[in-house]
Structure formats: C-alpha cells, structure tokens
Amino acid sequence: MLAFVLRRIVQSAAVMAVVALIAFALFNFTGDPVASMVGPEATLEERARLRTELGLDRPFWIQFGHFVGNAAQGEFGRSLRQGRKVSALLKERLPATLELSLVAAMLALVVGIPLGVYTALRRNTWLSQLLLAGSLIGVSLPTFLIGILLILVFAVILGWLPSFGRGDTVALGWWTTGLLTASGLKALILPAITLSLFQMTLIMRLVRAEMLEVLRTDYIKFARARGLSDRTIHFGHALKNTLVPVITITGLQLGAIIAFAIITETVFQWPGMGLLFIQAVNFADIPVMAAYLCFIALVFVTLNLIVDLLYYAVDPRLRIERAAAH
C-alpha cells in the first residue's frame, strides 16, 4: 500500500516536472521578455544589465530550476498586465472556481447516479426513454450554447435568476464564498447546471451501462435465488459493483470540470480562474498562463491519485492483489 502510494507520488512529480517545463518554455519561446519590458530606445548596455538582473543570461537549466523552486512555493512572478503577484491573483479567483466546480460535480453525481440506476432497472418505461433521449442532447450540445439558452430562458425571458457574476460574497479568512448569501446561491444555479449537464448525462449513461452489465452476472442470479428483495439486490449488490468505473470517470471529470470551467465562466462572467485565464490569453500575460497551466496539472494529478486510492476502498480484490505484489 505505502509502496504503491509512494510510486504514484513519484509518477505524479514526474508529470508535474514536464508540465513545468512546458510552462517555463512559454516564457522563452514567446519573444524576448527584455524587449517587451524596455522601450525601443533602450541601449544595448541597458538591455544587458536588465538581462543580468533578471538572471536571463544564466544557463537554461539553472533558470528552469529557479522557476520550479518558485513555482513549488506558489510564486509565478507578477502579472504583466495587472502588475500584481500572480499567486495573489490566483488565490483571489480560486474560491469562485472551486465552489462552482464542486457544486457542479455534486449535482452531476446526485442526479446522474439515481437516473442511471432508474433507466437501467426500468428500461422500457417512457420516462427512461425520454431521459436517454435527453441525455443525448446533454452529451452533444456544446456548453456555451446550453449556458446561453439557460440565460435566455431564466434570466432574460423569465427574469428569475441573474445572468452574470457571482452575487454577494462573504469572506471567511482569505476564502470568499457565495454559498452563504441568497444572491450568491441564485447566481450559482445557472452556471452550475451548465457546467454539470455534460458530466451528469455522462455519469447517467455510464451507471446505466454498468448496471445492465452487472445485473446479468451470476452473483445477481444467485442473490435472487436466495430470495433477497429487489432493493437489496439492486442497491446493495449491484450498485457497489458498478462503482469502480464510476469513480474513475467522476474523478477525472472533476478535473475536467475545473479545467473547462473556462467556457462556463466566460459565458456567465463568473469571476473565477477560467475567466482570469481567458483574459490572460487575450493580453499574452505569460506568468498568469504558466501559473494556470501548472495549477490545472496539479489538480489532475492529485485527483488521479485520489481516484487510485478510492479503488482500494471500493474493490477488495485490488487490496489483496496489490498487497501480494509488494
């Protein structure tokens, strides 16, 4: 177990190092930073001095080492556009994105799993057919279109919910939350639905397919031959066996939700990291882009690790096999 965790952590570190290299390359291969910092009338000496001051004359690997060392402490320099520290910018935007993503993920799970179970157990009802047809729409419509449609219906036509922003927030230390105010919650509804719709339909279809698979197995037949009730069989025996793939997909999709919140945040002008990133791209704000890249990679790597550990909790076979292997 411990050896497995350590090995996964080393692998994760390797992935992070590669991502850091790419992020660092952004600085080096998108034009000379000195040229963009000084005016066109700066002399060669001035440029050389600045180059030495910034450490840009040192070898590539030493510069990279500095970058990684700073990044590990959360320092990515200053935003070229806003002049503030990138770490402070990210910290300010992080709560908005995380709250939106987690609420969307919860929504996807809480709605997706029961719907998946329902459509598997009651295959031939009209409601199942309707849900399956609807899920196709959820899987195939692009996020921005769903967002715009929701805004049109609920914000513009009905006027029930705000179409942009995060509402009022409450500060808990450095964390600002919109979950504690009415306007914050109201502002959260549309973006959360938009962001979760794809995952929700994906989870629903996955749970349904897995459930149908498991219901055909011998141990379900034997459970029925033991006279267990349908509820025990479906939710005790079958559902637990469907969870491994569901956890995998949900874990990876949570990363995707956080990363691809960019589009939803843009549509709803949600003040999160995605919006920050889009603005950074528009202004070629390299430090912000590099920091965002590293952050998203960290999220994915961490989630992968958590997913692997969760397998142990769900599937007893893995515990033994891995234990035997070490």
Binding site: D218, F222, R224, A225, R226, G227, T232, D315, R317, I320
Partner: protein, 341 residues
Amino acid sequence: MPLLDIEGLTVEFGTEAAPFVAVDRVDLGIEAGEIVGVVGESGSGKSVTALALMGLIDFPGRVTARRMAFAGRDLLQLSERERRALVGKDIAMIFQDPLASLNPCFTVAFQLMETLRVHGNERERGSSKLRRARALELLQQVEIPDAGARLNAYPHQLSGGMAQRVMIAMAIACNPKLLIADEPSTALDVTVQAQILALLTNLQKDRGMALLLITHDLAVVAETAQRVVVMYAGQQVETGPVPGLFEAPRHPYTQALLAALPEHNLERARLTAIAGMVPGQHNRPSGCLLSPRCAYATPRCRAEQPMLEGDAARRVRCFFPLDASGHPTRGWRPDSVPALG
C-alpha cells in the same frame, strides 16, 4: 402428495408469434428426501426448468404450467413477496460457477449473514452475533478448513471448491426442503468434484431434504440419484429409476449418452459421440426432435412427434422404444430407414 409437483411446465422466449420453446411440457415430481437427477446436453432445458421453478425467468420469458405446487402451495399463484419468502428458504439453489456466483464486493460472512437476516428464525433476524455464530457453524458443516478465518475472506480469496462449499452453506442456511443443484461440480477439478458430491449427498441424508441434481454427467447421477429424468431439446425423453434406466435404456438418446461415456469405450481408439448438436430456435425438426441425430430414425420419426408414454415409474418418448437388448421394438424395420444422402 409429492413435495414438488409439476405438470406441463412450459417456458417460452421470443415473440408470441414465433416463440422459442426452451422447456416443453415437462412433468416433474419429487418426494421429500428424494434425489432426482436431470441429465442432458447443454441447451436441453435443464437449467431453465430449475429457474422457472424458482420463479427466476425474467421478461420476455413466459412460464406456463398446468400445475406447479411445492409442499401443497401453488407456485403459480404466489405474489412476488411470497415467492421471495419461499425461495432461498424452503427451496434453495446452487449454481454452476461458484466463484462467479458470489458477490466479489462482500465477505463470505456478510453474504451468509445476509441470507440469515432475510430468512432466518426470529432470534437470528434479531441478533447479528447469533447470525455470525450460525455462519461459522454452517461453514463447519460444509467442511471448510479453518472456517473461522474464511468468514472474513472475500470470494476471490477462495478456491473454486471452497467457493462451492460457501454457496452450499448459504443454500442450506435455512434448512431447505428442496435443494436444486445446477451442475454443482462441473466447474471444479475432478478430485474436488467427488468431494462436493459426497458433501451434497451427506447433507441430503442428514437433513432429509430433497435434492434435484442437474448435470450432464451420467456417472454422477448413477452414483447418487434414485430417479433420473433425461432431457433433450427442452423435452423429457425418458424418466425412470436408477439403476434400471442405466441398465436398460429405452430411448435411443439415453442409449447414445451411455455409449458416449469414456468407460464404455475402453477398447476403441476414439470415443463414441453423438453426431450433431441440440437443435436451436431455427432448426427444429418437424418430427421427433432427436430424429436428425438418431441412429434408428424412420420416415415416421421425421414426420410426427412422439408423446411421452408409460406409467409413472418409467416413461419414454419414442415410437420404437428399445428392448432389454438395446434394439428398437414395436415393428421397427431397418429397411424403413432410407439411405442417407
């Protein structure tokens, strides 16, 4: 009154217009404490018969019967709740592949105690301590070595033979009156097969329960059963007592099955086999279902379906049942067999 009394059990799949008859008007009676063997090739409807009797045939399968009674209760009239209370308690069933039949996510103890929680007596339902003690006792009864340690094992940690013992322990947990064993030893090693069969017959004797033993292994039936039912393509072709049926088979199919046993082929270089396959949904012959594979088939066999005839002790479905010397009777003439081709 027999413990189990089935008459005209039919199971159909597919559409109403073009049904596939998996089990065709099967009659089956089992007395309390009796061992009845059901033999036949794969696809002969043995397992489907058992599943129908357990009420486990799902839509779109259709089960009909003139009579289907267990211990005086009409199985056809049971509500789903009544069926669940009966099945797993008074009628228990074990399956062919023991490792696949235990849920991989739960321990042996959990699955055993779950059965007791649903079907156990009042004291067992109320106390998990008592259920655990019973689970241990059951594992000891099915002769699992180091039973205490096995309680917390997951199915994948068990060998096939041990998993089959666990499944038997679950089946006998509530002292069933009838145990249906569907190919209980087929998936196991030969040595383990013998142990499992010995265990089943011992439990049957000790508890006086009836045992319906479904198998394709005639030797197993010859050793254990008191009566045997031979099935072919969903129909009973011959029923009779052991060893009478084996000593003088009256149906050509039974004769061919016996001839295919390895111990009857000691001097031959190749084993005798029955040519061809059990007919499926789309290649049912119009006459006797065995006629394409039968060594004695006549034009009449190909045109008409024979009925199951005889008294309760011995019944056979053949126009020309075999005599004691193994030759067709009742006016069968070899020249009535047209040249193949």
